[in-house]
């Protein structure tokens, strides 16, 4: 299981617009991938409902996890999306 810990860059947290960009990238991956708030159960990173439901705030740390072929590259890509300050708003 590969993991990344990353802080949310979006000023508004992982809400509509940044969440949608993140989920789309996760959904394109062939392997399962999860996102969790620190110390909380992971949820499906390919579900916009699950990610919006997490209600992650700006600068909060999240844990991304995936397993299987391409997991490391996938998590690098997703971590950079979480950390970015682009796609602000929503």
């Amino acid at each position: 299981m590969a993991e990344r810990r990353v802080r949310v860059g979006s000023k508004v947290g992982l809400h509509a617009r940044p969440a949608a960009v993140f989920v789309r990238a996760a959904a394109e991956a062939p392997v399962d991938v999860t996102i969790a708030r620190r110390g909380r159960p992971p949820v499906n990173a390919k579900s916009i409902l699950a990610v919006l439901g997490l209600d992650v705030r700006h600068d909060e740390e999240v844990v991304l996890a995936a397993e299987g072929e391409g997991a490391e590259e996938l998590l690098d890509r997703l971590a950079s999306l979480v950390a970015t300050t682009e796609h602000d708003g929503g």
Binding site: V12, H15, A16, R17, I48, L49, L52, G89, G90
Partner: protein, 149 residues
């Protein structure tokens, strides 16, 4: 089948009429949008169910079929920090379709430099799951915007 109702009265513009590429390209989900009447009002629940998430400017209602609908009041309105929005129901509450959820004033949102277009999208839905999606014309609050199977 879930009937998704208009949270606000106004002119249906479809997602293509939303001035935001992520929302317009249905990346958040398939659905439609309503350019609201510029008068103080109370945005309503689009379906009957649980008020799963409530932000001042956006909310998600999950119905008994497991269909979750996001209502986003205006574009980039998260930046208004809740000013001008009055939540009327606590998060987690059961709510009937058509009942008020958030009080707001689209004219004030517009005056603050944001589009007040109200986005209504189906979360985790395949676009083919939606039918009879309204894309144009005037709509009353509580009228059907689309169905979801």
């Amino acid at each position: 089948m879930t009937r998704v109702l208009a949270p606000v009265a106004g002119r249906v513009v479809g997602l293509a009429g939303v001035p935001d590429p992520v929302l317009a390209e249905a990346m958040v989900g398939p659905g439609t949008a309503v350019d609201p009447i510029r008068a103080p009002g109370r945005a309503a629940a689009p379906v009957t169910g649980t008020l799963l998430k409530l932000h001042p400017h956006a909310y998600v209602v999950l119905d008994a079929e497991g269909h979750a609908v996001l209502v986003h009041l205006g574009v980039d309105t998260v930046r208004l920090g809740g000013t001008g929005f009055e939540p009327l129901v606590p998060e987690g509450a059961h709510i009937e379709a058509g009942r008020p959820v958030v009080g707001w004033n689209p004219a004030a949102v517009e005056a603050a430099g944001r589009s007040p277009v109200c986005v209504v999208v189906a979360l985790d839905a395949h676009p083919d799951a939606l039918s009879r999606v309204a894309e144009s014309g005037e709509v009353e609050q509580g009228a059907e915007l689309f169905t979801w199977t």
